[in-house]
């Protein structure tokens, strides 16, 4: 965890990318986890937890005012937990940390949006008059709130990762069990997400065709 400053910085970038800045998809767990793994010197562990959390994230369709779990910061914390642990032993506990942090990030987004709403209501008169300086200030305060949320959630995630790394009461057998149930749950969530995405028409047939092609690819390799 000696790279915690870089992890904190990366987690903040990832948290901002989720909604407020750019949305270039640094916040996808596949990206966030792999880069965090590179920061802590274990890109394979980071990539693995990133893939598992990405399967959970496939179930989220971020339309309208839907609740977004912050899987990106979750993946950063998960990569910090998994780094250095051998294979399946680290993955399960790390994904647990990642899911907890993703939920914390979701709660944080709701808090930020409520504060933004209060801010807009407080400045209603100036906004109705078209005061440009108030528009800029209100918008930048929203950006600042999301930055603080990203820093706070990442810091909490890294603390949780350090605690899980040092004081996890799980035995080797227990760690394998946790990995098995979470990998199964992730595959289930992604399959349900894929079916929801495909609907009932033509796309569902393409989803089935993709599954068949994937099975053929697995058998051939």
């Amino acid at each position: 965890m000696e790279n915690w400053v870089w992890l904190l910085l990366w987690g903040t970038v990832v948290g901002l990318d989720l909604v407020s800045v750019g949305q270039v998809m640094f916040a996808r767990p596949l990206v966030a986890g792999t880069v965090a793994g590179m920061i802590v010197g274990d890109p394979v562990a980071g990539g693995t937890v990133g893939v598992v959390l990405e399967l959970f994230a496939l179930d989220v369709m971020p339309v309208g005012a839907v609740r977004y779990p912050d899987y990106g910061i979750g993946a950063v914390a998960a990569a910090a937990t998994a780094a250095g642990a051998p294979g399946a032993l680290g993955t399960g506990v790390a994904v647990c940390v990642g899911l907890g942090v993703a939920y914390l990030g979701e709660v944080g987004i709701r808090v930020v949006r409520s504060r933004n709403t209060e801010d807009v209501r407080r400045n209603r008169a100036a906004l109705e008059e078209g005061d440009e300086s108030v528009v800029i200030a209100t918008h930048l305060r929203g950006l600042l709130r999301d930055t603080l949320r990203s820093v706070a959630v990442t810091a909490a995630g890294l603390l949780l990762a350090a605690a899980a790394y040092r004081w996890s009461p799980i035995t080797v057998r227990g760690a394998v069990l946790v990995t098995i149930v979470l990998v199964g749950a992730a595959i289930g969530a992604a399959a349900a997400g894929g079916m929801r995405l495909s609907g009932r028409g033509l796309a569902l047939r393409w989803f089935g065709l993709g599954l068949a092609a994937g099975v053929v690819l697995v058998v051939m390799l």
């Binding site: 949305q23 990539g47 369709m61 199964g184 092609a213």
Partner: protein, 240 residues
């Protein structure tokens, strides 16, 4: 051109002040500032006031509203007509953006990224995903702002453009195929460390997850399911 670029840059942060009162309203007003600054002083305040009103859309398509409303302000359209136009754009910009991006480009690129991660390396998967996704992402953002600025009050016509219609038709099936292809490949990779008996356990939990999320409690979502499973797993792992 420089003004349009500055506006485009601001559309990248259009959601920063998202709130339950006006949703994207303040963000879209913030993005409009470079374009609206060219208006005569006596009309500038009114235009800003209209721009801060309630608005929501897919964030990548918000530029279309920003451009179209700014053009309408320059053309001197009446206040009521501009308000109606903004309201009329909410549904189409949300629907087209969600179908093109969230249900099309994003899952398609994620599927490719996951497959390449397994077949090549995590870094290759990440790079593939980011390049594929952002080529489409920035193309859509740029097109939306330009189309809005070009179209003005008749911007809705831009949404019937041939490229948009083709995209809406083919991206859904491409995304479904890409996610479908990635699933067995990723599942096999993740389960490769385990013996056959444990692989069967993984498959059983996956089937349980699909049944729960699709048919028994569809509102539960992946995160809640994952948290419940994680809690049971940790408890069992601790006791075992």
């Amino acid at each position: 051109m420089r003004t349009l670029f500055r506006t485009w840059l601001r559309t990248l942060v259009v959601q920063a002040s998202w709130n339950y009162d006006r949703m994207l309203g303040v963000g879209s007003a913030y993005a409009s500032i470079p374009l609206l600054r060219g208006l005569p002083k006596e009309r500038h305040r009114g235009a800003m006031a209209r721009a801060t009103q309630f608005f929501n859309a897919h964030p990548y398509m918000a530029g279309m509203e920003v451009g179209a409303v700014a053009r309408a302000e320059y053309e001197g359209l009446p206040d009521e007509q501009i308000r109606r136009m903004r309201h009329a754009l909410i549904g189409p910009l949300g629907s087209v953006g969600d179908r093109l991006i969230w249900a099309g480009v994003l899952p398609a690129a994620v599927g490719v990224g996951l497959t390449v991660t397994v077949l090549a390396s995590p870094l290759a998967g990440v790079l593939c995903f980011l390049v594929l996704y952002n080529l489409a992402h920035f193309a859509v953002r740029g097109w939306a702002l330009r189309a809005g600025w070009r179209g003005g009050h008749s911007v809705a016509r831009e949404l019937t453009a041939r490229g948009v219609q083709i995209g809406l038709k083919i991206l859904g099936p491409i995304a479904a195929f890409s996610v479908g292809l990635a699933l067995p490949v990723v599942a096999d990779w993740l389960a490769s460390d385990f013996q056959t008996r444990l692989r069967f356990s993984i498959a059983s939990i996956a089937v349980l997850g699909v049944v729960l999320s699709r048919w028994i409690v569809p509102s539960f979502g992946g995160l809640r399911f994952g948290l419940v499973v994680a809690a049971f797993g940790l408890l069992a792992g601790w006791l075992w």
